[in-house]
Amino acid sequence: MSSVYTSVSGQDAVFKQMQVIANNLANMSTSGFKAERLKFEQALSSSRPTESSLKKEIAEPSSMQTSFYAKTAGSYTDFTQGAIETTHDPLNVALQGDGLFAVATADGERYTRAGEFKLATDGRLVTPQGFPVQGSGGEIVVSGGTPNILEDGTVMVAGASVGKIRVVKIDPSELTREAAQLFKLKDGASVAEAPETRMVSGAVESSNVNATRELTDMIMASRAFDSLQKTRESDSKMSKARAEAFGKG
């Protein structure tokens, strides 16, 4: 009967994979979005009972189901650079190379690659959600004209600097995802300032979701699901035959 559990946990992994693909494809037009990846192949291979787990099953049958999947499956964020899309909006900035913008939220500091900024009523530079963008010297307040953002992140208004957009570098494994393309720092992780990161103004970094890859993954997931389904079907037939041969009492 262990093949039933293998195929059920396999299908569970396929469902997770489908959720991840669905979210990636839904965010194909979300600027600053970074594709999520599931370590699926690893998960699949580990779904097969290994020799040691088979031995364990004989000794301790109930431990079998839980030892399948979870131990190696994980997800990570693919931080490869997205294409630079020109928007002509002077408040849009795209980061070139590594780095993240820092924004202040009610829950603390968060980081993002999405540079579709706007001005709040009081002239503060904020994200579309209204989170203030952090400058190297605190919030950036613009007044008296349309700002112009230079390559190094300096915000100029009528020829005078009103602040410099802060850029930080963080090890991707130290980040967890939140809504609105925000990333949260894991406890105890550190942030390094990266004032050398270049920016392009009047442009945004488009989503790095690769449609070909996602669609291929989806076909693969669909096929894997079918195979696992076949396993369940034959397993079901076998149990039935066994019940007919030896069963009935």
């Binding site: 469902f15 997770k16 489908m18 959720q19 991840v20 693909i21 669905a22 979210n23 494809l25 839904a26 965010n27 194909m28 037009s29 979300t30 600027s31 979005f33 999520e36 431990s63 839980t66 979870a70 131990k71 499956a73 994980g74 997800s75 990570y76 020109t86 928007t87 002509h88 909006d89 002077p90 408040l91 579709e116 706007k118 001005l119 709040a120 009523t121 009081d122 002239g123 579309p128 959600q129 007044s143 008296g144 004209g145 349309t146 967890t176 995802r177 939140e178 809504a179 609105a180 393309q181 894991k186 449609a211 996602e214 669609l215 989806m218 669909s222 699901f225 389904q229 369940r232 079901s236």
Partner: protein, 260 residues
Amino acid sequence: MLNALYSAATGMEAQQLRISVISNNLANMSTSGFKQSRAVFQDLIYQTQQQAGATTTAGEQLPSGIQVGTGVKVVSTPVIFSQGIMEQTARDLDIAIEGDGFLGVSANGQTAYTRAGSLSVSATGSLVTQQGYELNPPVSGLAGVSGLTITSDGAVNGITPGQTTATTLGNLSLSTFANPSGLSAKGSNLFMETAASGTPTSNTPGQSGAGTIRQGFLESSNVNIADELIKMILAQRSFEMNSKVVKTADEMMGSMNQLR
């Protein structure tokens, strides 16, 4: 599996809204003073299905967690106030604003703002827009005036009947906003002040960051046709891909239902 269906549905919905924004931009390709909008997307909350660092029943620590997203939404459709191309019309009462700022107009008892500067003189001698809305602050006393000129700083000069030299008959002023993208579009090229845009500051053209006036020109729409068409293709394909997710997820659920 239901999650995948819902995420794909949010994707389709957002792309549909994007198409609406694009089609409005394209429809207003030739509307002078029109400013294009752009759909801004954001991802939704993430479900942590497995916490990184959690301990498995086998006593091992998970190196990474599993975070699964739940889709997308359009967070805003800001108007992009980049300068449109100056189109020469050689008409005395056509004005274009070069730089920031809006002309104030009185529309149905409220003050609205516009960058469409195709003006006319009304029967009562006031400067009005093509929709018949009077400028605010008004410029009046232009009945029978000849040789109208509008200078770059907004002074309206003309020769009143019975005179031989031109005199200044009024001044145009430009209103600037802290956040023009926060203005609410009301149709007829008009924008209204909102809490997000901030209150307007009235300026003499060319001063305090306000643009200058160019007589005999109109500012054409800032819609870039090639950009919009590319965005439309992308939106359509993204929509299709999301519907493909729905189809695949549905097939999987269907085949699960077959199991006996």
